[in-house]
């Protein structure tokens, strides 16, 4: 193996981001004053720099096949970076307010992002595991970041214990696959499984374990149990982050793992994904109805959304994967925008999380109510908002593959889901107004505006996103 065969330049964005992270960490430690705001700005700068480095699209395989850079990984990385950057922006004001202004916060998000980028590029079961763990470890800490608060500490601990269990499952699955096929590289696995009949039961069980590990990360049923508790307990800025990038990267990894090494076993894992998808959609739509806490509601909402995304994966076609990517893009913007609005729910200095606290927002703060309404309608999948198009691409892919049941259940559950989304709109516009919220900080208005504009006007210029998603999806089916 020569130095050039390593192709290390492919990982330049990750390397740069990791170096920046260490630089910011050192700066934060050495600095005498509290440097939360400054470090956050530096982190955002590092994300932007990395994004610029990802954009040129140096594609290839590096590190002896451990690391792949292609259109798919570039798409995912950009989405993750944008999501992470927006989440840092929403945390600026909130962390100041609730006394979490510590420079480790953005640094942890940065390292989490490095892990997610690694996941996007993983082409070996080992890289996959390492990337996932890097992401998860950072999130465990972040979830418990408000360590003086019981709820936050509990959330962090819960997530850690269950996450460890999930990691164990995944690792066990990896070892099974390795044991039965003799390789951990995706391309080797694909070769070994070219004939589906040769797949031994042990290997198959290993795949299920790997799926279980990743399904835990995307909070798909039945591995979703942590989601509502962690969403509710974690600081809200972290909840916002949890709902966006850390859903995108594992989902992308799941897609790549299923499509590339195990692509020939489509018929086998398809039914698995279908079951998980249906269960997630049902639970996501049903369980959210009874919620009074908006963060818990968003937890169930994210479970439901992941169910829809899994339809695209279950379709197992280029169109399906394209749908997955488009859905993730629309979902990230709607989610981050919604959390920007949730973070703005503050009355006389006190953070609020109840749905009823939104009563009469349409009169006390029309702009925020409008943005919130746009996100809710978008999540419910009302045309012409972006959420509709995400669902449209997913459902049409499923229908093309003849998976009518899945599409019909998807449509029906989104009808049920529309109930609780639109209920929020009803509370905002038709219930008797409560006292107005405190003035919104500019950072939250900015993120809400970005999310709102993207959600509203996606249908005008969908072409760049759709084309990029199409290119990315094709890579996996070469």
């Amino acid at each position: 193996m020569t130095w050039t065969a390593m192709n290390w330049t492919l990982a330049v964005p990750e390397l740069v981001l990791a170096c920046c992270g260490m630089g910011i960490l050192v700066f934060g430690v050495l600095s005498k004053r509290e440097t939360f705001q400054l470090c956050s700005m530096l982190t955002i700068g590092a994300f932007l720099l990395t994004g610029v480095l990802v954009l040129p699209g140096a594609y290839g395989v590096g590190y002896s096949g451990l690391f792949t850079s292609d259109a798919f990984s570039a798409f995912v990385k950009l989405l993750v970076l944008v999501a992470a950057a927006l989440c840092v922006v929403v945390s600026l004001d909130y962390n100041e307010h609730v006394n979490l202004r510590r420079f480790e916060f953005p640094v942890l998000m940065l390292f989490c992002t490095v892990g997610m980028m690694l996941m996007a590029s993983a082409s070996n079961l080992m890289t996959m595991y390492v990337g996932t763990e890097l992401m998860s470890l950072a999130i465990y800490v972040l979830a418990a970041f408000a360590r003086d608060e019981l709820r936050s500490a509990e959330a962090g601990l819960k997530y850690f214990v269950l996450g460890a269990l999930a990691s164990g499952l995944m690792l066990y699955g990896i070892s099974l696959v390795y044991g039965f096929s003799g390789s951990m590289a995706f391309d080797k696995l694909a070769e070994a499984l070219a004939d589906p009949a040769s797949a031994s039961p042990g290997l198959v069980v290993g795949i299920v374990f790997i799926v279980a590990g990743l399904a835990f990360k995307v909070s798909a049923v039945p591995f979703h149990m942590w989601t509502p508790d962690v969403y509710e307990g974690a600081p809200t800025s972290i909840t916002a982050f949890l709902g966006t990038a850390p859903k995108v990267a594992p989902m992308a990894l799941l897609v790549r793992a299923m499509a590339t090494p195990f692509g020939q076993l489509l018929v086998q894992w398809q039914q698995l994904i279908v079951l998980v998808s249906i269960a997630s959609m049902l639970l996501g739509s049903l369980a959210a109805i009874g919620q009074r806490n908006i963060k818990r509601l968003m937890a169930y909402s994210s479970i439901g959304h992941m169910g829809y995304v899994l339809i695209g994966l279950a379709a197992g076609s280029v169109d399906g994967i394209r749908g997955v990517l488009i859905y993730l893009v629309t979902y990230v913007f709607m989610n981050v925008g919604t959390f920007a609005c949730i973070l703005a729910m503050r009355r006389r200095g006190k953070m609020l999380e109840g749905i009823s606290d939104l009563a009469g927002l349409g009169r006390t703060d029309p702009a925020m109510a409008l943005a919130f309404a746009v996100f809710m309608f978008g999540m419910a999948g009302i045309p012409p908002l972006s959420g509709f198009w995400g669902k449209y691409f997913i459902f049409s892919a499923a229908v093309q593959q003849g998976m009518w049941t899945l599409a019909v259940i998807g449509v029906l559950t989104s009808v049920v889901g529309a109930y609780y989304y639109i209920n929020i709109v009803k509370v905002m516009y038709f219930d008797a107004p409560e006292e107005a919220f405190d003035p919104r900080p500019a950072s939250l208005s900015f993120v809400a505006a970005v999310g709102g504009l993207f959600t509203t006007f996606f249908f005008v210029f969908p072409a760049p996103v759709v084309a990029a998603a199409e290119a990315a999806a094709k890579v996996l089916f070469r």
Binding site: K158, V161, L162, L165, A166, L169, P201, V204, V205, I207, V208, F209, V211, A212, F216, V221, P222, F223, M225, W226, P228, D229, Q268, W269, Q271, L272, L275, V276, L283, L286, A287, I289, G290, V416, Y419
Partner: protein, 641 residues
Amino acid sequence: MLFAVAVFAPLLGSIVAGLFGKAIGDRAAQAVTILCMILASICGVSAFVSLVYGGAPAGTVSLGTWLDAGTFHASWALRYDALSAVMVAMVTCVATLIHIYSVGYMSHDSTVWRFFSYLSLFSFAMLMLVTADNLLQLFFGWEGVGLASYLLIGYWYDRPSACAAAIKAFVVNRIGDLGFAVGIALVFVTFGSIDFSTIFAAVGQHQSDTYSVFGTWRAYEVIGILLFIGAMGKSAQLGLHVWLPDAMEGPTPVSALIHAATMVTAGVFLMARFSPVLDYAPGALAFVTFIGGSTALFAATVGCVQNDIKRVIAYSTCSQLGYMFVAAGVGAYQASIFHLLTHAFFKALLFLGAGSVIHAMSDEQDMRKMGGIWKKIPLTYAVMWIGSLALGGVFPFAGYYSKDAILEAAWASETAIGQYGFWCGLLAAGLTAFYSWRLLILTFHGKPRADHHTMEHVHESPAVMTVPLLLLAAGAVVTGFVFHEQLLGEHWQAFWGNSIQIAPTNHVLHAMEEVPGWVALSPSVIGLFGIAVAYLLYMAMPQVPAQLAATFGGVYRFLLNKWYFDELYDAVIVRPYFALSRALWQVGDATIIDGIPNGLATLTTDSTAQVVKIQNGSIAVYAFSMLIGLVFLVSIFLLFR
């Protein structure tokens, strides 16, 4: 151009009065609608005169395209020929007089502008109907008069009986309209067009076309029957007549305009308009004659025992419409339109005269509570006499010419069904004379049966009501002999032009001239007999009718209850329908259709509660459920791989 003004001036009046009536006040609304109607009648009459006497060419006044879809075309166009011109002239004149009369009759009403707007709207719809150039436009007018009729019957919408009558009229008309609409569709299927000129030009080509519904029939017969079903609804023929007597709930001018003079004759007009096709459908024509003759007799029998002055006249209308259909059925379309024309004048006169009586009697309509008022309202009395003479067919009043012509034509047709029409008509003529004089005598003669208070108030109507009465009376006197020769004489074709086309085999107009003398005389004789009986029973021996009613109780009640048609329909159609509706509502809608979403909603909230229950916060439970899920997935995977 004149023609278009005649049609659209009432629309203008209706819109102005309807939209701005409240703002501009009752007086202004009346002025606008009446001026528009006068303008329309001047234009209508000039158009008629210039066509028939001035030699103006017949043709169409095109107003634009309405629908243009594939091979289906319908345009807005006014057909200008003798048939439509005579109808336009008659409708505008009668409607104008009734507008003027209404100024006096409705003077105590609170929403006069609304009444006048509806009246003008009706006039416009009726004019659209008679000037239509295609079936769809005719249907537009047809439905338009139906709507206006509904609005006007239910004009006093705070009276439950008026609302019920309005709904009844509308619903019964819908039944007829269904037949008409299907007929239009069948015309389009047969001829590929709904344009009159196209249809009539192609009559020869489709004679042997057949149509299969409950067996195979000639298409013309089916078309004829279907169109006649539409006509039956609108013209209140036996079976679909039940709405007309109830329609008397509307103000009396409405009864005069809509339910006597114009709208109810739309069916007769339709028959005449479709004469080119109908003349080749002998089966359908026989059916028309049968229903017409039966209606004439049936309504006349019922009219003999009614006590409400307006209902007597309503049944007489029903009966006279039967005559017109008899004429159409035997191929004498000219005679049916002639009777339509004369009837419009004398029936409007009778209704308005009755209105004048009701006005004088402080809104009393029961003839049993009238009597002895002829000296107090001599003018009304006189015009009622003229109207009754015309209706009874006494020489030289208008009804004599037209009714005689119809009976002669029925005799001359020399078919069995024509004979049936003749005998029914002859019998009805006697009954007509009887109930007309019964009405006159009960209303005006004898001892006053109203209370003292009412009698003190009896007064002649104001000039605004009596002048239209006099003009209509003039019409009832002269229209008969003025138009008789032109419309039915040797040179009828010079008058009608192409508007009425008959088959080469149809010689009924010619044969009419050569019927035996007794046939021509018999209507007058039996009419005088009827008058004599009425005089005897009600003037000379006023106690006899009550004895008769007691002696023949069964027959009397049968007639008084209008042959139990309402009860029959109520038992056979209305009540089962209500029962079915109630079942569908309570079981179908409230239980099943509402139940499904409600049940789903309950199911959803219940399952929500169940789902959330597992989420109890315990890590052990969470981890356990993950492992259970994993085991489940592995088993599925291994079982079904």
